[in-house]
């Protein structure tokens, strides 16, 4: 039986991913900081699917604890997905360095270091799939949200480098850019329906990628994001700074 580790298991996307894999009979390991929330998700997943679910406390901002965390998993998962992210308050992050640091560390430093540690173990074993949920916001620095965007850009670049290093070892590294997703994190924002995915669609994309049904190293959950981001990436900076995108 296959095992997936969901890092950020109490988020809406993390929950959807865990349920998607559990429905297909996978063993589930969910990790996060909120132990009561993890227990709630574990009971839900177990009742809905009969899958075996274990919960693991993890503080993504505490890099030194990662070795002990991975040792505590019991068995090394076949697939690990990081859903950890912090949108933060863009206005506050502009002027408050400690808030900006939280955003950067939650989106980049923590997930990158943890996936890096997992990568070492996957290489020793000779197999494994690493999936990072990054963001379209990481493809261009925008006036409205650049601290978040920069941290996701860092994560995307890290995944890219890791992918290119591990390819010869048979370890796959996949970057998934969900675009807008209707979650707790975006509940207060009005989102355009055509480019906004439900958490279940992100879960479907992760599942299809992990099981080889959807190919590609960098995926947009809704394919319409591919041409949109092509345009956004290709606008010259001199023009881009005059637009309010």
């Amino acid at each position: 039986m296959n095992t997936i580790l969901v890092i950020g298991g109490t988020s809406d996307i993390g929950r959807a991913i865990a349920l998607r894999f559990a429905a297909a009979g996978w063993r589930i390991q969910i990790a996060g900081r909120d132990t009561a929330g993890l227990a709630r998700e574990a009971a839900d997943i177990a009742a809905r699917t009969t899958s075996d679910v274990s919960v693991h406390r993890l503080d993504i901002l505490s890099g030194p604890s990662f070795v002990a965390f991975l040792d505590s998993l019991g068995s090394l998962p076949d697939v690990a997905v990081s859903v950890v992210g912090l949108l933060g308050d863009a206005r506050r992050a502009e002027a408050d360095p400690s808030h900006a640091a939280d955003v950067m560390r939650s989106n980049f430093e923590g997930p990158a270091l943890l996936l890096g540690e997992l990568a070492e173990r996957f290489v020793s074993r000779g197999s494994g799939v690493l999936i990072g949920i990054s963001s379209v916001a990481g493809e261009r620095g925008r006036a409205s949200n650049y601290v978040y965007g920069a941290s996701k850009a860092g994560f995307t670049a890290f995944l890219s480098g890791l992918r290119n290093r591990l390819a010869r070892h048979g370890i796959r590294v996949v970057t998934i850019n969900p675009g807008f997703v209707r979650t707790k994190m975006t509940a207060a924002i009005k989102l355009p329906p055509i480019v906004t995915a439900e958490p279940g669609e992100v879960a479907d994309a992760v599942f299809a990628s992990a099981t080889g049904k959807r190919r590609g190293d960098v995926l947009y959950v809704r394919r319409i994001w591919s041409p949109i981001m092509l345009v956004i990436r290709s606008i010259p900076e001199t023009v881009f700074k005059r637009l309010s995108l």
Partner: protein
């Protein structure tokens, strides 16, 4: 502030929307708030799930807490929706014990309305299925209630006014397939429709579509739909098994508000005649249908509430005691046919007794009619109320947006008991909805 209305899109109000992420967050969300009411998926038609100042959305409270595959007993958080219950447990051979005419309400909403299904004549309402529930009280405490508690009877059908239901325990029905064995009976007039529903008491599920345009000798002509869960013996083991996991078909959508004149006397009458003839062609021997079109026919069209235009619509759902039902129904149907603006979606159904202090059902017949909001509709519905009142009937609070206080008070004889309990558990009136303020609940 957020603009909210019910499914009928009338009336609307600006309220603060609170969104707790878990049951444990509800207490904090309610702190320092009053004039608040819990809101599920917004499927109450009128003003029942709009607070006077705030709404507490329970939609994020949708986890399954426990499930026993041996007995089918399940404990779920109150924001879990009927469609989620079905999608999760039908593949394992279980179906909710009571489902209303749409699969989108939450468990909390079903309890607050003591919603009935097509099996009410046999199995009672959703509230009758609940073995235990956890209630968040105005005081900040939570309590676990079982049917012996007086507060339980006030909470079932209590429209959210005793507190916030956090979770509930009930037992799912074991089924062998996801199919319904349906039988259609053609009833040429009202008396025949009532007789067919009387005979349908033996069926697990029964409901009638009634032609609100028919007049004269065909007044009240109906198609009576009887149903029961198809067994493996009915359909063969392989098909039964496959039907458990079958996904509902993709939904059509009404993308914008139709102009108010779309549903006029001619278009509704033409629709009704076609619907009647088409249904009558399938009358006689039973046939198999997936559960979704049998239980939730309108759910196939997303946003069907937009067909009544931008001003919204009102549903008038009354129940009439057995002894007076026939005469009162005939009078109502005559007036509706004469007015000519009734919906194509009129439903007649037999009910048993309700057990909550404010539960809608009583032994008799319930009739549900939709009307587009217009300047003259309110007076017309007041006239229908007078017929219901004289017959000893009442209106369903989950559908109501406009009945008068005297009409409500006359219909609900256990109101005084309810008010007394509410006074004990929420003396300051922390929980209040537009409906409770309008009706002086």
């Amino acid at each position: 502030m957020t603009r909210l209305s019910g499914w009928g899109r009338y009336p609307g109000a600006d309220v603060a929307l609170l969104r707790p992420g878990a049951p444990g967050d509800v207490k904090a969300a309610l702190h320092d708030v009053d004039g608040v009411i819990a809101r599920g998926n917004g499927r109450a038609y009128g003003d029942a799930a709009i607070g006077t100042r705030a709404c507490l959305s329970i939609l994020a409270l949708d986890r399954v807490l426990a499930f026993d595959p041996g007995s089918g007993r399940v404990t779920v958080e109150a924001g879990m929706q009927v469609n989620d219950l079905i999608a999760t447990f039908l593949p394992r051979g279980f179906f909710p014990p009571v489902v209303p005419g749409t699969c989108f309400p939450t468990v909390g909403g079903l309890i607050a309305a003591d919603a009935h299904g097509k099996n009410h004549h046999r199995d009672g309402g959703f509230g009758d299925q609940v073995e235990a529930l956890t209630l968040q009280l105005a005081s900040g405490e939570t309590c676990i209630l079982t049917p012996e508690n007086a507060l339980f009877a006030a909470t079932v059908g209590g429209m959210g006014l005793t507190g916030v239901v956090l979770d509930a325990t009930f037992t799912l029905r074991r089924v062998e397939s996801g199919l319904i064995r349906q039988q259609t009976i053609v009833a040429g007039n009202l008396r025949a429709a009532m007789a067919a529903l009387d005979e349908g008491d033996a069926a697990q599920y029964s409901v009638a579509w009634i032609d609100a345009s028919a007049t004269g000798a065909t007044l009240g002509r109906s198609l009576v739909f009887l149903g029961q869960h198809a067994t493996a013996a009915d359909v063969g083991a392989e098909r039964a098994h496959a039907s458990l996991a079958a996904r509902p078909p993709a939904r059509l959508a009404v993308p914008f508000d139709l102009p108010a004149f779309t549903l006029n006397r001619a278009s509704v009458a033409a629709f009704n005649t076609l619907y009647f003839r088409k249904g009558a062609m399938r009358a006689g021997a039973s046939f198999l249908v997936p559960h979704a079109p049998y239980f939730f026919p309108l759910d196939a069209i997303s946003g069907w509430n937009r067909i009544y235009g931008a001003r919204g619509f009102l549903q008038h759902q009354c129940v009439l005691p057995l002894a007076t039902a026939e005469a009162a129904l005939a009078e109502i149907m005559q007036r509706v046919a004469a007015r000519g603006t009734a919906s194509p979606l009129a439903v007649l159904k037999k009910l048993g007794a309700g057990h909550g202090l404010l539960s809608f059902p009583l032994p008799g017949f319930t009739l549900a009619l939709d009307f587009a909001v217009s300047d003259d509709i309110f007076g017309f519905l007041d006239d229908l109320d007078a017929i219901v009142l004289r017959a000893g009937g009442r209106l369903y609070l989950a559908k109501d947006a406009r009945q008068s206080r005297p009409m409500f008070e006359a219909g609900y004889p256990r109101l005084a008991e309810f008010r007394k309990i509410r006074q004990q558990v929420d003396p300051a009136g922390k929980f209040a909805s537009q409906l409770s303020r309008r009706l002086g609940l």
